[in-house]
């Protein structure tokens, strides 16, 4: 490509190098790679010819690696030229890369502990491509240089975006929002105190962490030679069985407590000093105790916000907010990332408004799904219950195993099934505030989706055989977010059809209309849309697929 050839020339003249410490970090990286084979090889083989060869082999391998790293550093050039970021890398395979700044989606400055101590940072630039790797990784730059470059990249991209014709901007709505929010030194939208972060860790439902801690501890207890636990247990067995049970219970509680502590410590390490600001159409986050993350996400890329409330957090009036973005972002799989790890329930509306501008989440009134949803859930649970208990019933029938104890279990479980179904039903709901679709579901972890009309990609109504018999439908709202979609399960058939029509009109209106506030208006209609309304009765509903 001619532009690439030109780029190479421009780099030859004015290209900049990475920070000299790049070499140091490369050396440390190589040493780290070599140390394990060296140790394992050395100790594993014991004394002898081969063992003595190992360090020599390692050195033989390490030297070319170090030379390669040095050559890479010596030849690496980068340059910010006009509205392009130019990169040249590679020793044998030369690579010239031109990244138009208009395409830049995400710029992150990342600092590990070692990098922080030495005053350098890694700069990652991501474009709209869905590749897993960031398009440009400048590792490492001086921290001042990295910050300046990030500011420059974002500023130039913004200038480029506003220079383009507004009509060509598919997301005019967000530009408006951004301008409204943009003011010098915008106060952060959210800032977490140490107490908040501790709270986030303490209320995180991380069963995996607990289990891991448990397993680790058991391993540890096993390794103790004639350990305290064993001695105590022996003593207890001698005295009475009850003591053993008590000891076991205490141990379990201790394990859980430790898991909880680990979870809290994890949250502090990850989210220490969390601040989030929205400025110039960009959401900027900064957080971390050891590795400091500094990321910015263009608001335009935000497809949906998810409010997650676990049982515990709901009870404490807390929630966590996730954003779903188009494509991936560095270090994040599936396009979902924490927007605010922990927030008070009453702040959620304000936080959502910080991203989506006009969305009034607090005022949204949720309509429930059809009451028959509860019946379907009871049936479903019952089916599971029967499948799980069937072997016992069969065993009893064949007189393999006496089953006198079954009746009490059934007596306890059946009402519980009904209670679970009721809870599910009560937590499910949908709302259509102007310009947005909201869907909520879940008992143990209640999730509320907030999807702007303008981000709707396809709409989907689905009815399984069982749903059709009850006259129920599932509405799925698809966006460009990676992986998960908002859905409302078990709406009345007629409501699902009505929502499908209404959302079609809204989604279409949301794009060409310059003003996001008008998104819900029907082009020629004078009737107001009917948001937050319970299922409309008495509408003739032809079966799906047979229009």
């Amino acid at each position: 490509m001619p532009s690439e050839a030109a780029a190479a020339e421009r780099l030859d003249e004015h290209g900049r190098r990475l920070h000299p410490l790049t070499l140091g970090f490369a050396a440390v990286g190589i040493a780290r790679q070599m140390i394990w084979p060296a140790l394992v090889g050395g100790f594993g083989l014991g004394d002898g010819e081969i063992a003595r060869m190992v360090p020599i082999v390692v050195i033989v391998l390490a030297v070319p690696a170090l030379l390669g790293a040095a050559a890479k550093y010596a030849l690496y050039r980068w340059r910010l030229d006009g509205d392009e970021l130019l990169l040249r890398s590679g020793v044998l395979n030369r690579q010239n890369r031109v990244i138009p700044l208009a395409r830049v989606q995400n710029v992150e400055v990342r600092q590990s502990l070692a990098q922080r101590l030495t005053g350098v940072a890694e700069l990652r630039v991501e474009t709209a491509g869905t590749g897993l790797q960031a398009e440009a990784v400048l590792s490492v730059l001086g921290i001042g240089e990295a910050q300046t470059l990030r500011g420059e990249l974002l500023a130039r991209r913004r200038a480029h975006a506003s220079a383009a014709a507004p009509a060509a901007d598919a997301d005019g709505a967000e530009t408006v929002v951004a301008d409204a929010v943009h003011r010098p030194a915008a106060p952060p939208l959210a800032r977490l105190s140490t107490w908040d972060v501790l709270l986030a860790g303490a209320t995180a439902n991380e069963a995996g962490v607990i289990a891991a801690a448990l397993a680790g501890l058991l391993q540890f207890a096993d390794d103790l030679p004639g350990g305290v636990v064993q001695a105590a247990a022996d003593a207890a067995i001698e005295r009475m069985e009850g003591a053993v049970v008590l000891l076991g219970a205490v141990a379990v509680v201790l394990f859980l407590l430790l898991g909880w502590m680990i979870s809290i410590a994890g949250a502090v390490v990850r989210y220490h000093g969390f601040t989030l600001a929205v400025d110039g159409g960009e959401m900027r986050k900064r957080y971390g105790l050891l590795t400091v993350h500094e990321a910015s996400v263009p608001l335009q890329r935000v497809q949906a916000i998810r409010v997650e409330e676990t049982f515990l957090r709901r009870w404490l009036g807390l929630a966590s907010l996730m954003i779903e973005t188009a494509g991936g972002s560095p270090g994040q799989a599936g396009g979902a990332e924490a927007f605010v790890p922990i927030a008070r329930r009453r702040d959620v509306g304000r936080l959502v408004r910080g991203i989506f501008g006009e969305a009034d989440v607090d005022a949204a009134e949720f309509a429930r799904v059809h009451p028959r949803a509860e019946r379907r859930m009871v049936r479903r649970y019952l089916a599971w219950f029967l499948v799980l208990w069937a072997p016992f019933w069969v065993a009893r029938w064949l007189q393999i195993q006496p089953g006198g104890m079954l009746a009490p279990y059934v007596a306890v479980f059946l009402p519980l099934l009904w209670v679970m179904a009721r809870w599910q039903y009560q937590n499910r709901g949908w709302a259509l505030p102007p310009g947005y679709v909201m869907a909520r579901s879940g008992v143990m972890n209640r999730i509320t989706w907030i999807v702007p009309d303008r981000k709707l990609q396809t709409l989907h109504v689905r009815e399984t055989m069982f749903q059709r018999r009850l006259g129920l439908s599932t509405l799925v709202v698809d966006t460009a977010a990676g992986g998960r979609q908002a859905s409302v399960v078990d709406l009345a058939h007629s409501t699902a059809r009505r929502l499908l029509e209404e959302l079609t009109v809204r989604a279409r209106g949301a794009r060409p209309a310059a003003r996001p506030n008008d998104a819900d208006q029907v082009p020629a209609g004078d009737a107001p849309p009917a948001p937050d309304q319970a299922p409309a009765p008495g509408r003739a509903n032809p079966p799906l697929g047979q229009p």
């Binding site: 709209a128 060509a168 598919a170 997301d171 335009q300 890329r301 188009a326 709707l456 990609q457 396809t458 709409l459 989907h460 109504v461 689905r462 009815e463 399984t464 055989m465 059709r468 799925v476 698809d478 966006t479 460009a480 977010a481 990676g482 992986g483 998960r484 979609q485 009505r498 499908l500 029509e501 209404e502 079609t504 009109v505 989604a507 279409r508 794009r511 060409p512 029907v522 020629a524 209609g525 004078d526 009737a527 849309p529 009917a530 509408r539 079966p543 799906l544 697929g545 047979q546 229009p547």
Partner: protein
Amino acid sequence: MSLLDEVQAPPRQASVHRLDPRTVTLWRLTSALWWTFWTLSMLIPWAVWDWPLWLMAPIAALGVAWTAYVPAAQYRHFTWQVREVDVRVMHGWLTRHVTVVLHSRIQHVDTRQGPIERALGLAGVVIYTAGTVGAMVGIPGLAEREAEALRDRLAHLSGTDDAL
């Protein structure tokens, strides 16, 4: 005029299309091939572990029943329409689906043709959006010309704006 009436007003009530009738033949052939494959695959346990050969019979019977009924049922339930603002695809024999793709969200449109489809003179249209689950919406089994015309029409309707 209510919102619903407005949406369903006559000018927008575009005609509902079925697939080309030859699609049933296409699906029957595909189904027959699969079931033949499964039936014949029972020869392996017969040869290796000496399983009874009659095990092929129930599989073959199921295959015949499936091939006779399911493709026709699926065909009956598959309809599509191109409306003023969107494309709708309705399908599903046991689980019914209605998928709505707005013209403005279409990224690009393909036609697809497998070997059996080519022999029958059929082609399918696939609509791509930036979405996740609905990222690919397919209308299989159209007459070749019809598929090409539909593809061109949808590509034209989709316009040029960035649908992200």
